[in-house]
């Protein structure tokens, strides 16, 4: 463990501020009599503007890691700082606010609301922002996020009128709409063919280059992992390698 701690230590020398700092995070699920240790002590620091890809077989703990990073779940032990804030012991309400303001999610299954236009789908996070912005501002923000994804001509289309790649780009627009510090992508190309998958990955690379946004992406495909600037491999709830991929 300390070995990775040292790795983290060397990274801290870098100019950029840490967006993410995990310190010996453990996650244990109680399943009746038995306990499942999903994360067995993970420490990880990510700087602003990094594109980290996390790979590993299923059951390696990469999904649990992503849930904790995304404030969808809390660690059983250890600390997690997002920006300057320790979020490992926050209430559900506070976590909801952090998800709303600081994190954008991109899922494998897109998770768009059916029978709802692309623009309205992108607007959803804004509906839960406090203070609530006026409808005209929300609409404007949704359209400019779609514009960034070159989907402004699809704003009034419903998900079933869009291709898979377009749907995923609507989902990325939704993740961007609240101007988050961090984009968390969970197998974003899993439901797409190779060409469309590559297109989506290039969109993310471009986004990072344009906006210096921090991206953490989980995948089990090595060729997708190769898009990252840094590749973290996991196995049995532990980080087994953490290499730069510049």
């Amino acid at each position: 463990m300390s070995r990775f701690g040292e790795v983290v230590g060397t990274n801290e020398v870098a100019v950029n501020a840490n967006v993410i700092k995990l310190d010996n995070v453990r996650k244990t699920y109680e399943m009746g009599e038995t306990s499942v240790h999903a994360l067995k002590g993970v420490s990880l620091s990510v700087e602003e503007g990094e594109f980290v890809t996390v790979t590993g077989a299923s059951g390696s703990g990469k999904s649990t890691l992503m849930h904790i990073l995304g404030c969808l779940d809390t660690p059983s032990e250890g600390h997690y700082s997002l920006g300057s804030e320790d979020v490992s012991r926050l209430s559900r309400e506070d976590l909801a606010e952090i998800r709303n303001k600081k994190i954008g999610f991109v899922f494998q299954g897109f998770n768009l609301l059916p029978r709802t236009s692309a623009a309205e789908n992108v607007e959803v996070p804004l509906l839960y922002s406090r203070p609530l912005e006026p409808a005209s501002v929300r609409k404007q923000k949704a359209l400019s996020a779609l514009n960034l994804m070159r989907l402004d001509d699809r704003a009034s289309h419903h998900p079933n009128q869009l291709s898979g790649g377009q749907q995923q780009r609507v989902a990325i627009a939704r993740a961007l709409v609240n101007d988050p510090e961090l984009i968390l992508a969970d197998e974003p190309t899993g439901n797409l063919d190779t060409d469309t998958g590559r297109e989506v990955m290039e969109t993310l690379v471009e986004l990072r280059a344009k906006r210096n946004i921090t991206i953490i992406l989980i995948t089990h495909e090595p060729e997708i992992a190769a898009y990252g600037t840094r590749i973290v491999s996991m196995k049995d709830g532990l980080i087994t390698s953490d290499t730069s991929n510049q």
């Binding site: 969808l72 999610f105 998770n111 059916p114």
Partner: protein
């Protein structure tokens, strides 16, 4: 509701259009049944009340004189004669009076006053000697002023109107039997009928009146003592023929021209115009005009309307007390007036005086078991029907509510991923509770509003095509809206609780 909750709610409802339609339908049926039952209930109650008022169940009539008491000077007269003296209704009264020797002697008395007379005193007391020509002589009509005999004054009428609680309207009256003719000359078409000198308030007392043509005389015509006349339907039919409109025509009473301003008829099944009745085989003129023409100051009757039919017995007692004290009648002395409720008049008429006296003595209880009981049994029949409709409304609302609960529970399951997504982008548990509660409320309120519209149309159709009495109150709409909103809140509670207790991770990856 905040704007963004509305947006979230509408998103939600769009996910399940068909189920939403079914749930709304249930509530619609319930609410429209509710509106219809309330509309019919109020309508029927109103209608029963109207009929009671139309036949005068709330009417109290005070008559000058007291036929129940044998006055000292009456001692030798047989009971049958008292029957003739029964107040107000008897056409015979005027004829009997006409034959009395006093009046004939009055007519024979020579006068020297010329065209204008100094009227030294009123001719209220039929037994008084007059040092000036009597009304009959001045007006050149032998029958003018024959019914005058009075102890009641306009001031008594105002006292009853102003000092008793539960009285809605009061009209004073002088009643005569008179011949009304189409022309001034003898032998023209004429009709012998009942003349009521009264006040412009009378139509307010006659709930069952409707005007075949024209109107009742006005306040200003009353104040000006104008020669205006309202004909009862029977009189109009006899003089001008059925379906004629005599408004604007002139008729003659005591050789004086009167302009006809209206014809009055009945709108109630309980009293149809008939020859010989007191209301429609009658003519109406301002009491002020009659007082002027006949040189009178007193009244024959004061008619008062109670706000509700059930109060007439109590008010009759109150009026008796009030008039006794106003007339300075001491404890041992009998009333110099008679107070009757409509029920007493109905039961008392046509009875031998001794029997009538007994009936009148027990009238307190008889009164209560007639109109009030009739009204009561109609109300009970109505309540049964309304209870039935209200049960249908209740069951439909329950079914509609269960439909909404079912729809929402289903959608909690179907939309678990949606809930997960919403949680992941920052929705709190409270947001999710609000979403499902407001979806439920939006559905039931939609059902409620459609239900109100459907209910109103059904009520109108029932009123139009079945001819039932209906009454739509804004209160019933408010009740319907409140009930449908409350139903939404109740129906939304459990699904909302279920949805909000989902964990973000579990919900997001739910398949």
């Amino acid at each position: 509701m905040k704007a963004h909750y509305l947006a979230i709610t509408l998103h939600g409802i769009r996910q399940n259009n068909f189920q939403a339609f079914l749930a709304v339908l249930g509530v619609t049926v319930g609410v429209s049944a509710l509106i219809v039952s309330l509309g019919l209930a109020r309508g029927a109650r109103q209608s029963i009340g109207d009929q009671m008022l139309a036949i005068g169940a709330n009417m109290i009539v005070v008559t000058a004189g007291n036929y129940q008491v044998k006055r000292p000077q009456d001692s030798g007269i047989a009971p049958a004669d008292h029957g003739f003296l029964m107040p107000d209704t008897s056409v015979m009264r005027g004829l009997a009076s006409m034959e009395s020797p006093r009046l004939i002697s009055d007519l024979e008395k020579p006068e020297t006053g010329g065209a204008t007379f100094l009227l030294a005193h009123y001719e209220d007391d039929p037994n008084a000697e007059h040092d000036h020509p009597t009304a009959a002589e001045r007006l050149g009509d032998a029958m003018a002023g024959l019914g005058a005999a009075a102890t009641l004054s306009i001031e008594d009428a105002r006292a009853i109107e102003n000092s008793l609680e539960g009285i809605s309207f009061v009209a004073s009256g002088v009643h005569e039997n008179a011949r009304v003719s189409l022309s001034e000359e003898e032998g023209g078409k004429s009709w012998f009928t009942r003349l009521h000198g009264t006040e412009p308030t009378l139509p307010s007392l006659r709930a069952g009146w409707t005007y075949t043509s024209g109107r009742f005389f006005s306040e200003s015509e009353f104040n000006d003592k104008s020669n205006v006349m309202v004909l009862g339907q029977v009189v109009s039919d006899r003089l001008f023929g059925t379906n004629a409109n005599p408004v604007g025509e002139t008729v003659f009473l005591w050789n004086q021209p009167f302009e006809i301003v209206g014809v009055v008829s009945s709108k109630s099944w309980a009293s149809r115009p008939a020859a010989g009745d007191d209301q429609f085989d009658a003519i109406y003129t301002p009491v002020s005009t009659i007082h002027e023409l006949l040189n009178l100051s007193k009244l024959n009757t004061i008619t008062a309307a109670a706000r509700s039919a059930g109060e007439t017995s109590r008010l009759a007692k109150d009026i008796t007390m009030l008039l006794r004290s106003r007339h300075g009648i001491t404890e041992q002395m009998p009333d110099d007036f008679t107070v009757q409720t409509q029920a007493e008049k109905l039961l008392g008429s046509g009875l031998p005086p001794d029997v009538a006296r007994v009936v009148a003595g027990n009238m307190g209880s008889v009164d209560n078991i007639t109109m009030e009981q009739l009204s009561g049994s109609l109300e009970r029949a109505n309540t049964t029907m309304v209870t039935l409709l209200a049960s249908i409304a209740g069951v439909s609302l329950l079914v509609g509510g269960i439909g909404v609960v079912n729809l929402l529970l289903l959608s909690v399951t179907q939309r678990t991923k949606e809930v997960g997504l919403r949680l992941s982008v920052g929705a709190t548990r409270r947001d999710i509770v609000f979403q499902f509660m407001s979806e439920a409320t939006a559905l039931t309120l939609t059902g409620g509003v459609i239900g109100i519209l459907v209910g109103i149309s059904v009520v109108h159709m029932v009123g139009e095509f079945l001819g039932w009495a209906v009454y739509l109150s804004s209160l019933s709409m408010v009740i319907a809206v409140v009930i449908s909103a409350a139903l939404g809140v109740l129906a939304g509670l459990y699904p909302a609780y279920k949805a909000s207790s989902l964990e973000p991770v579990g919900a997001l990856y739910y398949e």
